[in-house]
Every structure is written in structure tokens, then in C-alpha cells.
């Protein structure tokens, strides 16, 4: 994902977030954006916590600058979309907490690459995940799919349409 300016990103975020229909939400912290000193210049980061009863979503994205030789602007270098039980002391806090449990989490990591955490298995790389292009996910597709899962009880792998492949 790429945005030429912070204003472009904020406009996109406003439009996409309007399409999200949050249900059963107890509270929210954010969404917040942390720009750097120069308005409109990357890097910037987005953080958003959405709390349900006993469970929560934690959504993080980091955007880094592209060189002006490649046209400038900012690209999404990192994201983590996490859904699971609320750990102790997490309620409302943006500060890092050790996560004891995760129902589903997808990451684009600057060093490790795209991967998921699912059913007790961590860092499952894209090569073991079929049916879901990890790096194409957005926080809004993640929120909507989790909401579908919560409402219908449909298994997470079904609403996201993926399958974990065995180790070759």
C-alpha cells in the first residue's frame, strides 16, 4: 500500500473506516496516527484498539518513506492485526503487553516478512498459507472478517478463506 502524502492516507482512512460497522464494541482507543515532526512527511504509524467483551482487536501499521528517485511518498512497511483475549492491564493501554493468547494474527514484518499466528502456531509464512494473500490485507478487511466470525460463529479460517498447509 502506498500514499503520496499523509493527507492522502487520512482521506483514504476516513472513507474506508466509514464502511466498517462495528458491533458489540465495549470501548475503543484510537484510531491514532503518529506523524513525525514534518507535517505530511513519513514515517508515520497508526494504532487502534477495539475492545469487545473478553476479546479485542489490536491494529498497527508503520509507513516509511520511499526515495524521491522512486517518486517519494510513503509505503506500508509493517502491519500487525491481532485478535484474541484481552491480556491483563491491556484495557485501553497502547503500551506493549505480553500477549498470552491469540485467536488470529496476521503480520507483515519488515525483517521476517508476511506471516500469520493461528491455532497455537506462530510465524506461519505465506508459503504455508493458501487462499489468503497476507500482504494485501488491510485493517478494515481484518475488522470486517473478525466481525463476521463473531456474529456467525463461522471458523476464522473460513471467513478469511485460508488453509494452513502442512510442512513440506
Amino acid at each position: 500500500m502506498f500514499f503520496q502524502t499523509l493527507a492522502d492516507f487520512e482521506n483514504w482512512f476516513d472513507v474506508e473506516s466509514e464502511k466498517v460497522k462495528l458491533e458489540g464494541v465495549v470501548s475503543q482507543t484510537g484510531p491514532f496516527i503518529r506523524p513525525t515532526a514534518e507535517p505530511g512527511e513519513p514515517p508515520w504509524a497508526v494504532k487502534w484498539l477495539i475492545f469487545f467483551k473478553g476479546k479485542y482487536l489490536r491494529l498497527n501499521e508503520n509507513y516509511y518513506p520511499k526515495s524521491s528517485r522512486s517518486g517519494g511518498g510513503a509505503y506500508r512497511a509493517h502491519f500487525s492485526y491481532h485478535y484474541g483475549n484481552i491480556p491483563p492491564k491491556r484495557q485501553g493501554s497502547l503500551a506493549w503487553q505480553k500477549e498470552e493468547q491469540v485467536d488470529f494474527r496476521i503480520d507483515l514484518d519488515v525483517r521476517i516478512g508476511p506471516h500469520i499466528h493461528f491455532k497455537g502456531e506462530n510465524h506461519l509464512p505465506q508459503s504455508r498459507v493458501s487462499g489468503l494473500q497476507i500482504s494485501d490485507q488491510t485493517m478494515f478487511t481484518f475488522i470486517n472478517s473478525i466481525q463476521d466470525h463473531r456474529k456467525s460463529g463461522t471458523p476464522i479460517e473460513t471467513v478469511f478463506g485460508f488453509k494452513v498447509e502442512p510442512v513440506k
Binding site: G30, I33, A37, E41, P65, G72, H78, I112
Partner: protein, 92 residues
């Protein structure tokens, strides 16, 4: 859903964040940035925040310092880099 823009950090705040991370995880930022094993020793969400802080530090660094990288042959105080040149220098 309106996104809330937080106050940008100062360079001192970013430096304090990085120092606190180095102390807590006993990993230098140089090692964190260049050594895969050191990077993986840090919890994923912390690693993302640390990586962001290093990018913020580059963005907030005084212009002349970065300008010197970009235009090493030009005397340091001759001119300041514009935003594009600074990004180029940071990316180099």
C-alpha cells in the same frame, strides 16, 4: 471514524524511547538493525515500534548532519538539503 493525529515526537523523546529499549532488551540499535538474531529476540510489536523509532530518528535528525552525507563534497554549511534530498540521504 475520524483518525486522531497525535503530537509528533521530539528527537529527544525518540532518543529516550530508543535508549529505554536498548536497556530493557540489552540489544544495541545497531545490532537490532543489522543482526537477524538480535531482531528476533525482541517481541514482534516492540520490534515494530523500535524500527519506527529508528526511522523517526533519521527523519528528525538535524538537516546539516544528513546533508553532509548527501553532499559530502560540499562544505557542510554551504547549503541545507531540501526535503527530497534529505529523504534520499536517509534512504542511502
Amino acid at each position: 471514524m475520524k483518525i486522531t493525529r497525535l503530537q509528533p515526537p521530539t528527537i529527544e523523546e525518540v532518543q529516550r524511547t530508543i535508549s529505554a529499549l536498548e536497556k530493557e532488551f540489552r540489544v544495541s540499535s545497531g545490532n537490532f538493525a543489522s543482526n537477524a538474531r538480535a531482531y528476533r529476540s525482541v517481541p514482534e510489536d516492540i520490534a515494530a515500534d523500535w524500527d519506527l523509532a529508528l526511522h523517526q530518528l533519521e527523519a528528525l535528525r538535524p538537516v546539516e548532519t544528513v546533508c553532509y552525507w548527501q553532499t559530502a563534497s560540499v562544505p557542510r554549511c554551504e547549503r541545507q538539503c531540501n526535503a527530497d534530498e534529505r529523504r534520499e540521504a536517509v534512504a542511502a
